[in-house]
Symmetry: C2
């Protein structure tokens, strides 16, 4: 490996270890790569992965090998004499052989094994995953060290990995600069209360010394927005995609102590439509990328976890999203005969039941609701100065099955508006969130 | 924007707001895009950014506009009647006009302005950045809200953004799955002591309740390695690129409380050379990408901050890296007549002065040092079982001007070795780091 031989000629004085011999060995392919070979020509390859199934017949031994690169496994066909006691379900193996056309309909290629080496054995009696068993998520939860070998969780993480890459590429292609906003910070973007505080685990200070490691109290970030706003003042278009933290003491599917958030700030934007366009493009491009890069994984979710969503998703990608002002939304909610737990009222937040009704009303397609009441939104959103029904230039994207997926606003850029609003906030001693 | 008109035909019942009129406006180009136009044809464009210089002559007004998309600014040529009191150095503007060939040698294109709108004014008397002034970093440090408009810091963040993208793409192209390893964790990869602990800022528990938010003490991650190792057992090749934290109470250029680290784990790797190959490829590919994507930014660093590095960097990219065992390295250090503060001795860590000498000795090219003493390295590195000079299969990459840039090892995969080593660690009550 790595040209050590020619190196020695140049830097003979540097090294006196014997040079590693260059071994000509078959090309190692990932299972995904092997499965993508359209016209196999019996090329000599090597595949490394875990045994997903083993079926021994009189004349032939069938294995399925999965290495996590795809949901699909590669079928290995071998002479039964290659079977050993250690070759079991769950063991890790290296199979060398010839990649050939498969006579079976279910797969295009298979690997005719010439050698099977068990790299790591597996005691099937104690191994948490069982052959041909559909393990429920509650069961898998107990085994963090092997649960990602299950189809559902490995598909989930492959999709997440693709979505992460698609998000980075979306912004990069449009000229955004990526910023790592600070994780430990003294700034609290959303208003105090539900933040984590950070100090060294072992930390002994004398009474006369400053009690804080950073000299001031330091917290885990709840949003990189304020840092990004500063950066937008130098780079015009910036984004971040990092962990954020909330110390909410509630256990629900919607409250996580640690989660990842995409945030972007754009300078010179004066219309809410331009922000909606970025959100819509981001949603569509990332979704399309995941659908095209992980077709098998997505199909698994459509089959097992979210039946009936496929057509809806396609529809969302095809049509432009719907837009509606908050005031219209309230009018629609008031006109319906549906019973809500929370009565819709101008000036009140939209509840999940309201969002759900609005999405239904619009044909189960993503919906932008814009121009929210001034008193519901944080101080940094731009005042629309629109009289009695006083609103700010904010927008939320509601998505069927989820509710609010993202939100944004035109930032208040008039210093006098900001100052008088901040003063009002301080006077009422209520930081609006 | 965004096809609201055709939408209304489909979903007439949804919306009663007047449709925004579609305004035909000139295309907004980033400065970088405008500068890249090879053959300008007088196309009507708009540029938004900050005024970097303003020079008013009798018949012509020259501006330089920068929007952070590139180090270079775009020259704007205008009729002096377009000058207003608010059009100053530091103000943000929107310039509309025709992109034409520039008669000057220094730039290929310039913008013949037809309209200049000041978006945000700037009081030059109080603005921290001054026209035609080279601000030292110590000065810029005081103004976090505008310092990134300086050439050096904006170049630095553009390079960081490109490097981030290149790192993601490098691993993605080679079939690695990206994993977001947990930031808040109870696992301490590198040994206890210098970690940050996390609890909610407002946290009152009754004495009979568990004192910890997560029921156990929780820390900020010092490394995602152990989580990645688990993932490598399902996906074969995984990587993460996230924030890590150390509560080192020392102020130096090498100790940060928060920094970003690239980590990768590969299953089925049995030779250190394969790990070195990944490190070398990563270094070279990311460096090449930054050099090709940010030529002006890199040139600024070569000119102002690191003169004489350009040729050295090119040499590093062209040649294969040098490899040398730790034992050889100690022999070389012992044979030299150079005086070291720390006497080189087998079994002792390489100090900065030793690394520097070795790099010089090898011709200022990146150097892999491998097979380190067993007692210097953590428990998870593979025992080479090589007798008196007992080593593990670990490798560090030393780079001129930096020192250790990355490290890795073959992981110990034999349960009995791990168990006996862990037992030894517990007995001596010293977790080796």
């Amino acid at each position: 490996m790595f040209g050590a031989r020619c190196l020695r000629l140049v830097l003979r004085h540097c090294s006196s270890v014997p040079c590693p011999k260059r071994v000509v060995s078959p090309k190692v392919l990932r299972v995904e790569e092997a499965l993508e070979v359209k016209e196999p020509t019996g090329q000599d390859i090597k595949v490394q992965g875990w045994v997903r199934s083993i079926r021994s017949q009189k004349d032939v031994l069938f294995l399925h090998i999965n290495d996590g690169s795809s949901l699909e496994s590669l079928q290995v066909v071998a002479n039964p004499r290659l079977e050993t006691r250690e070759l079991t379900f769950g063991s890790s193996v290296e199979v060398q052989g010839k990649l050939t056309k498969s006579p079976h309909k279910r797969q295009n290629v298979e690997l005719a094994a010439e050698n099977i080496r068990v790299v790591g054995s597996c005691d099937v009696s104690t191994f948490p995953l069982k052959y041909k068993t559909h393990h429920p998520l509650d069961y898998l939860r107990q085994f963090p060290h092997v649960r990602c070998r299950s189809n559902v969780l490995s598909a989930l993480l492959r999709v997440r990995s693709e979505a992460t890459a698609a998000i980075h590429n979306f912004f990069k292609d449009q000229g955004y600069i990526h910023i790592h906003t600070p994780i430990i910070t003294s700034n609290d973007c959303e208003g105090a209360g539900e933040v984590f505080q950070v100090e060294p685990a072992k930390w002994e200070r004398k009474p006369e010394e400053n009690p804080h490691f950073f000299n001031i109290p330091a917290f885990l970030t709840v949003s990189g927005q304020l840092h990004l706003e500063v950066m937008a003042g130098a780079f015009s278009k910036v984004f971040t995609f990092g962990p954020t933290f909330r110390a909410d003491n509630s256990q629900s599917r919607k409250h996580l102590a640690e989660f990842y958030m995409v945030e972007a700030e754009l300078s010179f934007v004066e219309r809410l439509q331009d922000i909606m366009q970025v959100m819509e493009d981001l949603f569509k491009r990332v979704t399309e990328m995941v659908l095209s890069r992980c077709p098998h994984d997505v199909e698994l979710f459509h089959r097992r976890l979210a039946p009936g969503q496929e057509a809806k998703l396609e529809q969302m990608l095809k049509s432009p999203f719907v837009t509606m002002s908050y005031t219209e939304a309230i009018d629609i909610l008031k006109q319906t005969h549906q019973d809500f737990t929370y009565k819709p009222e101008w000036g009140q937040d939209l509840q999940s039941e309201h969002e759900k009704y609005l999405l239904q009303h619009c044909g189960e397609t993503p919906l932008f609701v814009f121009n929210y009441p001034y008193d519901l939104k944080p101080f940094y959103m731009r005042d629309n100065e629109d009289g009695v029904h006083h609103t700010v230039a904010a927008v939320d994207l509601l998505v069927p099955g989820i509710g609010e997926l993202c939100g944004g606003s035109i930032r208040e850029d008039r210093p006098d508006f900001l100052q008088s609003r901040l003063q009002r906030c301080c006077e009422t001693e209520a930081v609006i969130t």
